[in-house]
């Protein structure tokens, strides 16, 4: 393809090709400081014109690659950076078979990981990003990669996609860590945030899952911690996994390892500060 960028994020390498220069320039800036990948890429992402002339006329970016969703809608060239991010997500969600993949965010302290998973809008991404600014090591806000042999969590510290109101919480981060403001995307107003340097520098360092949280955000909810039965944990994690069924028995073993070996709680919270208090409370009780 005309333009190419290779990116290594945790244990996964991507080759991203594009018909236009701009999306890759934005990506290069956002991922400044990430190590260059060595050798083969796990996945190829292609950002290409839907039809040859659409490279010039009302440019529209189709997200393609090794794995394709046939009815995925193209994005405008102004949202090319988002297209690249979505392209990487798509490859992971459809093609990743080296790890059990959970749609979850994760942070680490002292070699132990806190996993958060829930429906979109539950705040798992914002929470992980916030904790990552406050002494935790950020592991990822989109996918948690569980090693099929050891059960360890592999960091996947992609740029964090901050949506709508969440943007205001990160007003004081170093400006060079922020990507361009993408207004009017299918997911609303988005701005990407590069994780802190330690998260990038230590992205080959795995962590042992120590606590699973199912957060629930609601402006009118009282802060609350609730126990969750193991059957419910199991079902919620299978729902959170994109490749649990495809992995077969190894996927079942890794997922039940989490259920039986890692404590889990549901938390309700009315604002992020309340959530941070609940997380600290639970984490300190782990001892």
């Amino acid at each position: 393809m005309r333009h190419r960028l290779d990116l290594a994020i945790g244990p996964v390498a991507f080759r991203i090709g594009s018909d236009w220069r701009a999306p890759l320039d934005a990506l290069r800036l956002l991922y400044g400081g990430y190590p260059a990948p060595e050798g083969v890429a796990d996945f190829t992402v292609r950002l290409e014109a839907e039809r040859p002339w659409r490279r010039f006329v009302r440019p529209s970016v189709a997200i393609r690659g090794d794995y394709i969703l046939p009815d995925a809608a193209p994005l405008s060239l102004a949202h090319g950076l988002l297209a690249a991010e979505m392209g990487m997500n798509l490859q992971m969600a459809l093609g990743q078979r080296r790890f059990l993949l959970l749609h979850a965010s994760a942070v680490e302290r002292d070699g132990r990981a806190l996993l958060m998973t829930g429906h979109s809008g539950a705040g798992k991404s914002t929470l992980a990003a916030l904790l990552g600014e406050r002494g935790w090591r950020f592991l990822g806000d989109e996918f948690a990669l569980v090693d099929l042999e050891t059960g360890a969590l592999h960091p996947f510290p992609r740029a964090i996609s901050l949506k709508n109101e969440a943007l205001a919480l990160f007003g004081d981060v170093e400006p060079d860590r922020l990507g361009p403001v993408l207004a009017g995307t299918p997911k609303g107003r988005i701005r990407h945030l590069r994780p802190r340097a330690d998260a990038v520098a230590r992205m080959a360092e795995t962590a042992r899952p120590a606590l699973i949280l199912f957060p629930r955000y609601g402006r009118d909810l009282a802060p609350e911690i609730r126990p969750v039965g193991s059957a419910e944990i199991f079902v919620r994690l299978t729902q959170a996994s994109t490749n649990y069924v495809a992995l077969g028995e190894p996927g079942f073993a890794a997922l039940s390892g989490l259920v039986t070996g890692v404590p889990a709680r549901a938390i309700d919270y009315p604002d992020t500060e309340a959530a941070v208090v609940l997380v600290d409370q639970l984490w300190n009780k782990l001892g």
Binding site: M1, R15, R46, D66, R97, R98, L247, P250
Partner: protein, 339 residues
């Protein structure tokens, strides 16, 4: 040189693994051609970089799981259809897996394809609908078209397992010029343990060649030709295999596609075929170019050639006047759908 050619060369001779320059391109082509699992097994034990080995190991694991799912889907169909007391013949990937053939190693398997006697279609349809399968298409024209002119029922999907089943009553559309002998396919089929069956070796080749060269636009052709390579190498060990194949191919009006399959498998994958099969054919280079039309990004290349084969697929499928009527109906529907 096309990246697809590198893939073909490596499948034919895995010892070339240490000469691979761009593994990323090779994997992209293999995935685009649904050959990643086959390649991963073919390269098992070869010296490759550790990161490549991790990717290949995952592809092998994926293929093993796909095999389990395919066999389970076949078993589900067997249970649904067993009370009818009919021959239920597995086709394509699921058949290779169920019969333990080398073509099954690493093969990706999507839908379940079965062949049943045409007269039994209504009761097969009823039994499947009663066991959780449902229609994919809800368009009256498509439905009528399938039932009148196709070699299979409109596709059904299982509502819980989300897997498709294609119920065939012969191996080419009824509108095609060539008319395979469906009764002979069923009569010569070989029963497997447990109540299912597969086509006889020669008929299996005939079907694979029909699927590749007498129907469709050669999409996924490298994988289908790889099936043919694996099947021919395996079956050729039996005495009289080649004359029997010749006789069966003629009987099903499928001699030219079978000979072409043999020639191109020989050319691309080095498949041993009888001396007399290796003649020059003016159209082979076109077919070969079409099979190899993919670049190192996994993109389809040679759009004009692809379009030509796309047009050919429709002409093979039906006479021109009927084709015109069909395309007219489809275009009007498309127009209505996208005002």
């Amino acid at each position: 040189m096309s990246a697809a050619r590198d893939l073909v060369r490596l499948l034919a001779d895995p010892s070339g693994a240490n000469g691979v320059g761009d593994w990323t391109a090779l994997l992209a082509v293999a995935r685009a051609e649904s050959l990643a699992g086959s390649l991963a097994f073919r390269l098992e034990g070869q010296k490759v970089p550790p990161r490549v080995e991790a990717i290949l190991a995952a592809a092998r694991r994926d293929a093993v799981q796909g095999r389990i799912q395919a066999l389970w889907e076949a078993e589900m169909a067997r249970r649904a259809l067993a009370p009818l007391g009919l021959p239920v013949i597995l086709l394509k990937g699921t058949a290779y897996v169920a019969a333990g053939l080398p073509a099954a190693i690493g093969r990706s398997i999507g839908d379940l394809d079965i062949l049943v006697p045409r007269a039994a279609l209504p009761e097969v349809e009823r039994a499947l609908l009663a066991h959780g399968w449902e229609w994919v298409k809800d368009d009256d024209y498509d439905d009528l078209y399938y039932r009148t002119w196709m070699h299979e029922l409109p596709p059904l999907i299982h509502k819980e397992r989300d897997r498709m089943i294609d119920v065939h009553h012969t191996i080419l559309p009824l509108t095609a010029r060539r008319r395979p002998d469906a009764a002979a396919l069923i009569a010569a089929s070989l029963a497997l343990e447990g109540g299912l069956a597969v086509l006889s070796p020669a008929d299996m080749i005939v079907h694979a060649a029909a699927h590749l060269f007498a129907d469709g636009d050669l999409a996924g052709g490298l994988r289908n030709l790889w099936d043919i390579d694996r099947l021919l190498r395996h079956f050729a060990a039996a005495p009289d295999f080649w004359p029997v194949l010749h006789e069966r191919a003629s009987r099903h009006q499928m001699l030219a596609p079978v000979l072409r399959a043999g020639r191109l498998a020989n050319d691309l994958y080095g498949t041993p075929v009888p001396e007399g099969w290796r003649v020059w054919d003016s159209a082979d280079p076109l077919f070969k170019s079409r099979l190899l039309a993919r670049d190192g990004w996994g993109r389809a290349t040679r759009p004009a050639l692809r379009l030509g084969f796309y047009a050919r697929a429709h002409l093979l499928r039906m006479p021109p006047t009927m084709l015109a009527r069909h395309l007219w109906t489809k275009a009007r529907k498309g127009h209505r759908a996208n005002p």
